[in-house]
Every structure is written in C-alpha cells, then in structure tokens.
Symmetry: C2
Subunit: 386 residues, 2 copies
Amino acid sequence: MSGYTYAEVERILVAGDLRGRLTRHDLPTPALLLDLDAFEANVAAMARHCRAHGLALRPHGKTHKCPEIANALIRAGAVGACAAKVSEAEVFAAHGVTGILVTTPVVGRDKIERAVELARQHGDTLFLADHPANVRALDVAAAAAGVVLNVVIDLHVGRKGGVLPGEPALELARLVASLQHLNPAGLQAYAGFASHTVGYDQRRIASAEALGPAVETKRLLDRDGIACPLLTGGSTGTYDIDTAIGSVTELQPGSFIFMDLDYRGIGGRDGGAFRDFRAALTVLTTVVSKPTSALAIIDAGTKAFSTDRPLVPEAIGVKGVTYAWGGDEHGKLDVRRASAAVELGDRLEFVVPHCDPTVNLYDRIYCLRGDVVEAAWPIAARGKSQ
Amino acid sequence: MSGYTYAEVERILVAGDLRGRLTRHDLPTPALLLDLDAFEANVAAMARHCRAHGLALRPHGKTHKCPEIANALIRAGAVGACAAKVSEAEVFAAHGVTGILVTTPVVGRDKIERAVELARQHGDTLFLADHPANVRALDVAAAAAGVVLNVVIDLHVGRKGGVLPGEPALELARLVASLQHLNPAGLQAYAGFASHTVGYDQRRIASAEALGPAVETKRLLDRDGIACPLLTGGSTGTYDIDTAIGSVTELQPGSFIFMDLDYRGIGGRDGGAFRDFRAALTVLTTVVSKPTSALAIIDAGTKAFSTDRPLVPEAIGVKGVTYAWGGDEHGKLDVRRASAAVELGDRLEFVVPHCDPTVNLYDRIYCLRGDVVEAAWPIAARGKSQ
C-alpha cells in the first residue's frame, strides 16, 4: 500500500493525476479492474482479424459503457461503436465517439426526439428500424427537424426483434428508400444465440443458418437497386466464423475486450476452452468476516457480479477457493481446500461470470498495468438503458 | 401524454417542479416506478406493527438506496436506517439520515478511515464487528481521531458472517467493553435464510432456531455486566415472527416498502401468498419490436431487472403475457394468450422478481399517485457497494 489515506486516493483518482502513485492495494473494494496488457492485446487481435478479412469493426459499447474504451477502439481502427439504446449513444456522442449505430429500434415519441437530436449533432449516427409505422414516424420527425436519419433495417434472425427476412424486409427497405428524410444504410443481422452456442462446429452451423436469410435479403435489395452498403452482425463467439459469410461487411463484437467465464465456456476451435482473447476484467474484493476456518465472507455479492448466467465468480491467484452467492452484498467462500490461508482483510480477485451486466453495476473501471493503477475511467453510460 | 417534449420532461424532473404536470406516459422507459399509495400503506403498516410490539424499527436502506425513502421512514417512526456498506452510509448521512447502522464489518484501513470520519460527523452511527483484530484496529483508529465508535457485535446465526454465538461472542464483547474508544452497543443476529424460507410455520421454526443462540448470548452478556441495549435483526419475511422472541429490541426489514415476486412466494400466515404488504415497485417498459404475432420485444432485459432469483418479471394490467429474458437489453414476451393486443410502442408494466438488486440498476425512482408523477427521487447510493 502506498500510504495514502482514502481521501487522498480519491483526490488523486478524481483529478486523474495518477503518475504511478497508486497500486491495486489502494483501491476501495469491491473494485472493477481492467488488466491493460490483456485489454490492449484483445483490441489489437480483433482489429488485426478484421483488417485481414476486409471487414469493418464496430465494437458493441453495451459491453463497456465507457467512452474512453470506445475511443480507444476507434484509435485501434474501429469505424465507430454500437450503442444498445439512445441514452447510451448520447453519452458516447457527448464524449466524441463517432460512427455510432444504435442497435435497438427507436420507438416512442421521446426516443425519436432524442434520435433526431443525435442525428442533427452527429450526421454519421445510424439507427435501427424494423417496422413500417416506426419508419414513417422517423421520417416525419426527421423532416420536422430538417435532418436525414441513416436507417439500418434489423432482420429477425436472432430469436429477438427484427422484420422477417426476404419479402417483408425488402418491402420495408423500399419504404425507407422512398422517404425523403431517411437514408437506407443497410441491414443488421445479429444472432446472439449463435454466439453463445457451445462448440465451435455447432456455432458455425448456428451462425450460418441464422445469417443465410440475411445474405439472401441483401441479394433481394441489390436486385431491387436499393443501396445496402452495410451488413452488420457477428459477435465475439462468431468473430472467426462470420468472416466466411461473404456478404457480411462489419462485425459488432463486444465481450472480446474483457472476456468472461461464460465466453470461455463456449469452446474454442481446437475443442478446448475458448481462449482467443485474454481475461482482462476482474473484481477485487476483501474478506470482511471469517466465522469459521472453512468459511470466508467477502464484500462482493449480487450487486458486485451479475447473476444472469449459471456460473459463479472464479478466484484467481489462490487455488481451491469456491465462491457461493451470499446475497446482494456478500460472497461466501469455501476455503477448506485453499492453496493459501485466506484471512480477514485479505484481498481476493475474481473473474466475472458475464462481463456486460457486471460492468453495468460499477461507476468506474480501474486500469492496471501490473499492480500500478494507470487510470480510472468513468463508466459514463452505466445505467443508460433508456 | 402531456405534450411535453423529452427535453422539457427532463427539465421539469431535474428542477423537481412537478406540480402534477407529468404522468407515467411522459417517462422514458425502462423506468422504475413507485406506487406512493402502496408504499405509504406499507410503511404505515410496519411502523404500526413495531409500535404495537414495543420494537424499534431500523429499516434496511440497501433495499432502496434512496435518502428520500430513508427519511420518509424516519418521519414515520423509524429510529434510523441500516446501510449495507460504509459508502452507502456516507450517502445517507450526507442527506441527513440519522441513526445509521452499517451492517457489514468495517475491514481494511480505508474503510476504517471512512467509518471514523462518519462517527466524527454523526456520533449516533453504529458499526458492526465480529473479529478481535478488527475491533482493536477500530479502537486504534478511533483513538487517533479522538472519537468513540459504537460497536454492534455481529453473531454468526445466518450462514454468513459473524462471530460464533456463546463464549466467542462474549469474549469479543469483553474486548469491546475494555477498549477506551469503543462503545459496546449491542448484538446483531440477522438470519437472511430464515426470511426467505417458504411457509409461515417453517419460517417460524427457522427463525427461532437461528435466533435462539443470539438470545442466549445476550443473557451471557447481561450476566457479565456488559451493556447490551440492542438486539437487532429480523426481516420482511419474519417481521411478525421475531416479535415473539422476547430479547429482540429492533427489526431491520427492507423489502416490505416495495415487495417483489420473491417475497410474495414465501407464503403467508393463512397458507396463501404473502400479501401482508402491497406491491409498490414496478418497471415500465415499451414494446420496441413485434417480429411476429406471437412475439413482442420490450426494452427491458437483465440490465432492467435483476436475475438473482429463478423468477421472471410479471406483467400487470394485461393478462396472459409471459416474459422471457432476451439478453441484457431486451425482454421477449409471448403474447399469444394476451388479454389485449400488444403492439409496437405499447407500454407494459412489470412487477420485479427481487427488489433490492433491481433498484440498484436505476439512478432514479419515479413516484406516482395514480398516473401522476409526484416526484423523481435520486437513488443516490446506487452502486455504493464499497
């Protein structure tokens, strides 16, 4: 520990004047940590992969909700950032992120008003749509504001939203092309379920089946003379699969920057774990109670780790420690087989089950080079689900 | 809808100048809603219950993380508020909440520094401890700052933290009593598992078994001449059970103010659902895609509802709608048996599976009287898990 008081640590972090003065031991737990070496390696690997295959990279910002990370990805070659919702896009745009694609349809008068304002300030923003009534509403609002909205048509290939591929999509594209204040920008075909299909070959089959109708729809548009410069989709789980699908023009993966236990479990190309990207995200915790020799209680529960996957946080640095949920505020560690003593006040680090919703629980991500804190980035779009 | 633009709605909300000008239809979704009539009825019922049984009420603030709610409870008769962590307590204290009990041991130099500062500013704050080394560290820090810390000894009755009841607890109490800058304030015996035990009789048995050793420990302290003005514990699930345990002096329930599907399922005294308190908390959502007649996609997924219980959000207002998780950002509704048409742009309201971690996902709770928005309270301690 550096010897700084908590108040001094906070002052240094808020001022951003770190200069190697803080280490992980100074951070208040539970703390969200980013291993910069692993993060940078992941970013470089994905950028290289997309360049090699002639694909644009528009990484999904819902994973990190952090403008510094979105801008770091753009510096590494990304064409922009995806944002899940309008409010997330607003935060990114306010921090200088360009080329934003909003991947939820903009539905409702208030959301359309915000989208139009985004388009007025940042003409390169792209908006998703999948319904004729919504498309008409977008055009009316854009006309009233004197802007043109770039509209990407979302295809129903992923068991969630989207217009049905084929004729329904073609009709919607014709409508977009016919409206004066909309610019037909292309198609989205995102199949989240394929990304999480376990086994490389099974994933390849799932993704090909999901994207087949999208490729066919793109052909329909081409034949109809409707411009379709974009076919965006793909994810961390299919990043090296969707490259084989010729019509795909860009990938929008998210988790590769951080990785998590869920993605590690989908299986790699070689049949082992999926380790194409390094684990860069962890949560640092403190043992706050040691009621028995077998049981240690840490200060990180379901408000510190997301619970949307049937997985528990995994300790690193010490072996033989098993985490169990201990409610909203605490975790229960079975330390009977721990490779080192686990005592009151000890700090333990955990890989997270699922990165996106875990990051969404924190206001700040601490960026480490080894033990040294290089930066503390605000998760400025945290909670921006609107 | 009022006809206000989104920008105008935000200005009215931030200025706090509502005067009945906004209704639920003006709110950006997903939005966390509080039914004020139900909330006030819940608060009144619990306050009445505690008064009738001569118990102090110190409701747990981890449920709401909202200073306005903590202060409303104090106005209704609560002696203070529990806070799960030091950082949560800091937010409450900064907003005028008095009588705070921090229900996680204060472990680590930085946390002790913050606790001492809290005690300096608010002498009535209570801190939990369960370990002799930690107790000594608290005393040293309190001495250095010239303050006295009120220490509540946490008993291991709930399958989580705490010192073992009986002799180990007595020894720790003796240590606290012997140290000059610590004030022995009593015992905590919190058995969270008992609260969620399904079935009233089973819950009664679980709570009695858990609290028995606490009552016995209190007797040991009394016999030893150590003051024990406080035996705090209890929860929403056992609020009318722990009253029968004579030595308990105060209840610290949380969820009763909001209620949720999880608590409804624990079973009431009459063998039916647990309906002693009204459902006051919901999430308002919007249908953002309608890919098929059977499927509607809403803008609320695992970043809008917590997933720590094996339950899904339950629609109100329309029957026959089944929610399924659709990832971080979306929910998938099976609307084949819906009692009314569910179309693009429709707004649907859901009761949440588990209130505490759901509230922790939002920055603001909208307080409604019928359809009128009476207030928008900041969830100022959201994310304060440190």
